[in-house]
Amino acid sequence: MRLPAKPGLGFKPEHYPAIAETKPDLGFFEIHAENYMGAGGMPHAMLERLRQDYAISIHGVGLSIGGPDPLDTDHLDRLSALCARYEPESFSEHLAWASHNGIWMHDLLPLPYTRETLNLICDHIDQLQTHLGRQVLLENPATYLLFEESDIPETAFLAEISARTGYGLLLDVNNVFVSCVNHRSDPRGYLARFPLEKVGEIHLAGHEEEELPSGPLLIDSHGRSVAEPVWALFAETVSKTGPVASLIEWDNDLPDFATLMAEAERAGGILAGASHALAS
């Protein structure tokens, strides 16, 4: 199972009436796993309806793969049950952590890239893939800090995880741009080192910008349209990979559905261009 190599949107219940009415031409919808763990009601009713018309990507935000603690087995069971119920074309999680000692921060927190954390994450991923019985995609993070103990570059860290575990990668192009600008490095260099052959999905989102004495600090806010330099990096990336399932994420200050569709259509145009370029 694979997501269609077309644009997709993060599903927001507020947009359900517009989606049900217009049946927009989209490859897939993505949902956050943890929002669909209640017993019943509207969330499941909407998702079941959506599932009939579209491919589904389930995106976990609560597993804390990059944390020091063993994975929460109850949560693994809940993720398994959700995947069994909806049979999504894709399941993805984050190179990040969110919990320690039984407390969840519900944010994607950064970690140092070392042999120790690499081994730990590979163990967690093996456990997750075994539990779900399927391949999983891991997403590169947006970060604001560096760590002195990090001695492996993020791209090499992701490449080795993928090589060792068979994990696919979810390339968030906005996160690449945000992190590289924040750490004063070149996003094109990052993408040149990124194992693009492992990419099963791309994420695009908007970010906020503030000015620090040393230069800009970008915040991955998911609250506005995709920035122009991110569109450019996206086009360059898909010209190398060919068309890939590409998601517009917009979680805060939600606009009307037409605005989201315009973003998805722009992504669709770039994907179609990539397809022609590779064919010619």
């Binding site: 209640g38 809940r78 952590w97 969110a98 921060m105 620090l212």
Partner: protein
């Protein structure tokens, strides 16, 4: 592993107001603290908004600034112990009751009880209502020994304040809030009608006792005998039918 544990502990310490974790740095080290604050703010904002999604009327009544302050205190005292954010926040009513600066809003904890019950009802398990003709058939065959099974979302709240009426007054086109001389305890039914519609209805204390007994496993006759003065059985049935809350019926041990 030991060093990653220590890293996580220090990082979380920093998130809850402690120093920037050892080893954190940036290309301009003087800006590291500012950059760390992005994480601290994201966590605080994310959790505060999650709480506000459960408690929109509490937020409206105290104002967004006061609510953010209350949320920060609540996060410190009762941080999430679950990866499912929608299940976090159930102790907010108790927390509000213990917060002395809110003692001039005595109904606030009860508003929070209503809002938490509404969130639970929204996510409760689905159950199709019994068809009226089936219910009639059971009632005729079994009489007052009839056992009724209510929708899993059904909750009865016994409140010491008129929080049900105050909650209603805060809804779009809601009635005026009760005047101070109309203040009294209220019984509130929270449940979900069908898939989508969460209801919040002030009911009589007698109806509340009747429903609470049904939910504990009493049959209609037993629940009726516990309902007490002023109970109207027909009105109670009408309320249940109108909101599709009867999902099964039968003798005590043969549910349909």
């Amino acid at each position: 592993m030991r060093s990653h544990r220590k890293f996580a502990r220090n990082f979380l310490g920093g998130i809850s107001g402690g120093p920037v974790p050892e080893g954190a740095t940036s290309t301009a080290p003087s800006e590291t603290e500012h950059r760390f604050r992005v994480y601290r703010n994201n966590v605080a904002h994310g959790l505060s908004r999650a709480l506000a999604r459960h408690y929109p009327v509490v937020e409206r009544l105290v104002g967004p600034e006061c609510f953010a302050g209350l949320a920060a205190l609540y996060i410190e005292r009762h941080p999430p112990r679950t990866p499912i954010l929608t299940e976090w926040g159930g102790r907010f009513a108790l927390f509000l009751a213990e917060t002395e600066t809110l003692s001039d809003l005595p109904y606030l904890p009860d508003i929070a009880r209503i809002e938490w019950a509404r969130s639970r009802a929204y996510h409760a398990q689905d159950a199709a209502p019994l068809r009226p003709e089936d219910l009639r058939r059971f009632a005729e065959r079994i009489g007052e020994g009839l056992q009724l099974y209510l929708h899993p979302s059904t909750q009865i709240l016994q409140l010491a304040t008129p929080a049900g009426s105050i909650w209603a007054s805060q809804q779009p086109d809601g009635p005026r809030p009760p005047a101070p001389d109309q203040w009294c305890a209220e019984t509130v039914l929270v449940a979900r009608r069908g898939i989508a519609h969460v209801i919040t209805v002030v009911i009589t204390p007698a109806t509340g006792r009747f429903l609470a007994h049904l939910m504990e496993g009493a049959n209609v006759a037993e629940a009726h005998s516990h309902a007490g003065d002023g109970f109207d059985l027909n009105a109670a049935f009408a309320l249940l039918l109108e909101n599709a809350l009867i999902v099964g019926a039968g003798h005590r041990e043969d549910q349909t």
